[in-house]
């Protein structure tokens, strides 16, 4: 496994692969939570550095790699917010719903993982879900918009949802 290879790998290839697999979504998650690119970059770097330092403690039986990295990122974001809170004059982060934004962060983590799951669908399946769920279009409207037969749109939507469910299960995200 990639995480198990991190410490022994002298070439940096294992870390490079880990970063390229998860760096984008973790950066999106962190930037969204902190609102500052520079701070988000520092946090993401710190997340992967902590992962490298503590790779020996990672237990695949307890959480998937993605979940483990998100937990590290969540903790790093909370630490960053605490530091910013005691340093007046620094840019204020977006208001959160509880003292440290824990509940909001949990929702955001979920959102970014679902977004990552969508990215793993085929473009055709992703398109169906986006148009129906996010744009609120009916099957008939999607068929008109895309020029596809109505039956194809319905079929793709069905298989898109089934694929999404499978991807989420693989990622350890429970839809229920």
């Amino acid at each position: 496994m990639l995480v198990e290879r991190l410490r022994a790998d002298e070439t940096g290839e294992a870390m490079r692969r880990l970063y390229r697999l998860y760096g984008g979504e973790l950066y999106g998650f962190t930037l969204n939570a902190l609102g500052d690119r520079g701070t988000a970059e520092e946090i993401v770097q710190e997340v992967f550095l902590r992962a490298w330092r503590h790779a020996g403690r990672y237990d695949p039986g307890r959480a998937g790699v993605r979940t483990w990295l998100y937990q590290i990122a969540r903790n790093a974001i909370i630490d960053s917010r605490r530091r910013a809170a005691v340093r007046p004059g620094l840019p204020q982060h977006e208001p959160s719903r509880d003292a440290e934004g824990g509940a909001t962060l949990e929702q955001a983590m979920l959102g970014w993982q679902v977004a990552a799951a969508l990215e793993r669908l085929t473009p055709e399946h992703r398109q169906m879900i986006r148009m129906a769920q996010f744009r609120g279009l009916t099957m008939r409207e999607i068929a008109e918009h895309t020029g596809l037969p109505l039956g194809t749109v319905k079929s793709r939507t069905w298989y898109a949802l089934r694929s999404l469910r499978l991807v989420l299960e693989e990622m350890g995200v429970s839809p229920s």
Binding site: R20, Q45, A108, S155, W158, L161, P175
Partner: protein, 223 residues
């Protein structure tokens, strides 16, 4: 009817179609079970609305790999020192003097001692010539600093510009420490100031590799 379920779950059917699916579900355990497996997805998807996964910033990747290489090098140095394998500064100094002698005798050493201080502190700087294929060459000036080595490097003759990232490594048999990375300008040149946790005397050569595939680009021996 089963393929209508996706649209039904996403509430994307016309009213009459929707009623037909609802009526079917009331009498079809199989479709009801399928519906139950997927019914939670729309609520989950609301969390992802408006989120676009950005590309992982390359700058973070480079800094991260540099940092890990340094920590790895520092850890290795501590372990080697503990075992007595790392030469003390006096031995590094002897290496520098040896390099000077090699140059004086015309033996072909490429490491030149630029200055030698008579104080007890490690004062010696090296100038190392690196050569590569296709006319690429570089000169590196190495001096003690920041608990390791400060590396000033002038590079020329590499492919111009682009996304290629080169990594500078300080190496001896069996181990390697990164000193950082650089890109070339539009003329295939670069001047960089880098630092590494590896100290003078702990490595025998400077090597520049292409970071994407770690292939050799330039290399120069210290002694």
């Amino acid at each position: 009817m089963r393929e209508e379920l996706g649209a039904y779950i996403l509430d994307a059917l016309e009213p009459a179609e929707r009623e037909a699916v609802a009526a079917h579900l009331a009498g079809c355990p199989s479709c009801t079970a399928e519906h139950a497996r997927l019914a939670a997805l729309p609520a989950l998807l609301t969390h992802a609305e408006g989120l676009e996964i950005p590309a992982a910033p390359r700058a973070i990747e480079e800094r991260l790999l540099d940092r890990i290489a340094r920590e790895r090098g520092a850890g290795r140095r501590r372990r080697l020192r503990h075992r007595g394998w790392i030469p003390a500064w006096g031995r590094g100094r002897a290496l520098a003097v040896g390099a000077l002698a090699g140059m004086a005798l015309g033996v072909g050493a490429t490491a030149l001692v630029l200055r030698e201080d008579s104080s007890a502190a490690p004062p010696v700087s090296y100038s190392v010539v690196l050569s590569g294929t296709g006319g690429a060459s570089a000169r590196a000036q190495l001096s003690p600093g920041h608990g390791g080595t400060e590396v000033h490097m002038w590079v020329q003759g590499l492919p111009p510009g682009g996304e290629t990232v080169y990594e500078v490594r300080c190496e001896r048999a069996g181990w390697s420490a990164s000193a950082g990375s650089f890109r070339t300008d539009a003329r295939g040149r670069a001047y960089v100031v880098l630092t590494t946790a590896a100290r003078l005397g702990e490595y025998e050569r400077i090597r520049v590799v292409r970071r994407s595939d770690t292939s050799d680009v330039l290399s120069g021996q210290l002694n």
